[in-house]
């Protein structure tokens, strides 16, 4: 999978938040074989040095980082946060979040397009966290985005792919645009389904970090993603209503 001319080493993008400990996070990343680690920026807390410790752990993972603008509710906030993240993490990539509703954490599509246009103009390579709306996708592509990240469900819910029709439609309308299902996944089977539907990758955090055994769950997601990719490439059969015997009918012993 290529994004902005860079070949990713896999189809699993994993978050770095909410793990029981840094050691568990590191182990989960190893088990996940994640291609990208998502990170963020927050206020410095009285010279604690926490940022440097965290950064060293992330750098030790040896994979590209994708900083986010999590928690930003306005275009201005998201744009300033993106600039700070670019300097901190030394990357043009930004996972652009402009939150429109505090309960559902759903993206504000209008602010998202505006911020994407500004940031693209400023030289960023924008990964927009978006709803699965087809028209929004079109506007984001117009704004210069070369990858789209529709949600499966609201962040942290684990509900999976809630709007399959719209996701299928999105995939079908833009077959050549790299698309990452970002947020809402809870189970590996949902990640496999996303890959079977033709999405290019999944991005998640809570489903692994808050599982009883994050390391085992990271591996389970990795295997499910691989299974989904293989299944897609293997050209699955079409579902049908009528039964069709798989065992040959010809030559069956007559015992009635």
């Amino acid at each position: 999978m290529q994004v902005y001319g860079t070949e990713l080493a896999g189809r699993f993008l994993l978050g770095t938040a909410l793990y029981p400990s840094p050691a568990v996070m590191q182990e989960a990343f190893r088990a996940s074989k994640a291609a990208v680690a998502t990170v963020s920026v927050r206020r410095e807390g009285a010279g604690s040095g926490a940022g440097m410790v965290f950064w060293q752990i992330i750098a030790g993972l040896g994979i590209p980082v994708l900083p986010n603008t999590a928690g930003c509710h306005s275009v201005k906030e998201a744009v300033i946060t993106a600039h700070m993240a670019r300097e901190l993490f030394d990357t043009r990539w930004i996972k652009l979040e402009v939150i429109g509703n505090s309960d559902t954490l759903q993206p504000d599509p209008f602010g998202l397009v505006e911020a994407a246009r500004i940031l693209t103009g400023d030289g960023f390579q924008v990964f927009p966290y978006m709803t699965e709306d087809l028209v929004l996708a079109d506007r984001l592509l117009d704004a210069g985005c070369e990858v789209l990240m529709p949600w499966g469900a609201p962040i942290g819910t684990g509900l999976g792919l809630l709007n399959r029709y719209a996701l299928r439609s999105l995939r079908a309308h833009f077959p050549d645009v790299p698309m990452v299902i970002d947020a809402g996944l809870g189970l590996p089977s949902q990640a496999a389904e996303a890959m079977e539907m033709g999405f290019d990758a999944v991005l998640l955090n809570t489903a692994v970090a808050k599982a009883g055994d994050p390391v085992a769950m990271a591996r389970a997601f990795a295997l499910a993603i691989e299974a989904g990719v293989l299944a897609r490439a293997a050209d699955p059969i079409e579902p049908r209503d009528m039964a069709a015997p798989s065992t040959p009918v010809l030559g069956k012993a007559f015992l009635a």
Partner: protein, 66 residues
């Protein structure tokens, strides 16, 4: 002394520039990014960025994210 808002807290500072403020707070070598009055200030511009009474300074560091 100048009264500033640093990461939401009201503080008194003798710093005339953003770089001097970072130094004063023991953050001169910390991996951080800065904004003043809701505008990003790149690291290279901190030494020439003057601070005025009432300025709102944000200093952020790398952290966990999803």
């Amino acid at each position: 002394m100048t009264r500033l808002t640093l990461n939401g807290d009201s503080i008194e500072s003798a710093a005339a520039t953003l770089a001097a403020l970072l130094d004063e707070r023991g953050l001169a070598t910390t991996k951080c990014a800065t904004a003043v009055n809701e505008a990003f200030v790149p690291a290279a511009a901190r030494a020439s960025h003057p601070l005025h009474p009432g300025d709102r300074v944000e200093i952020v560091i790398p952290t966990q994210g999803g």
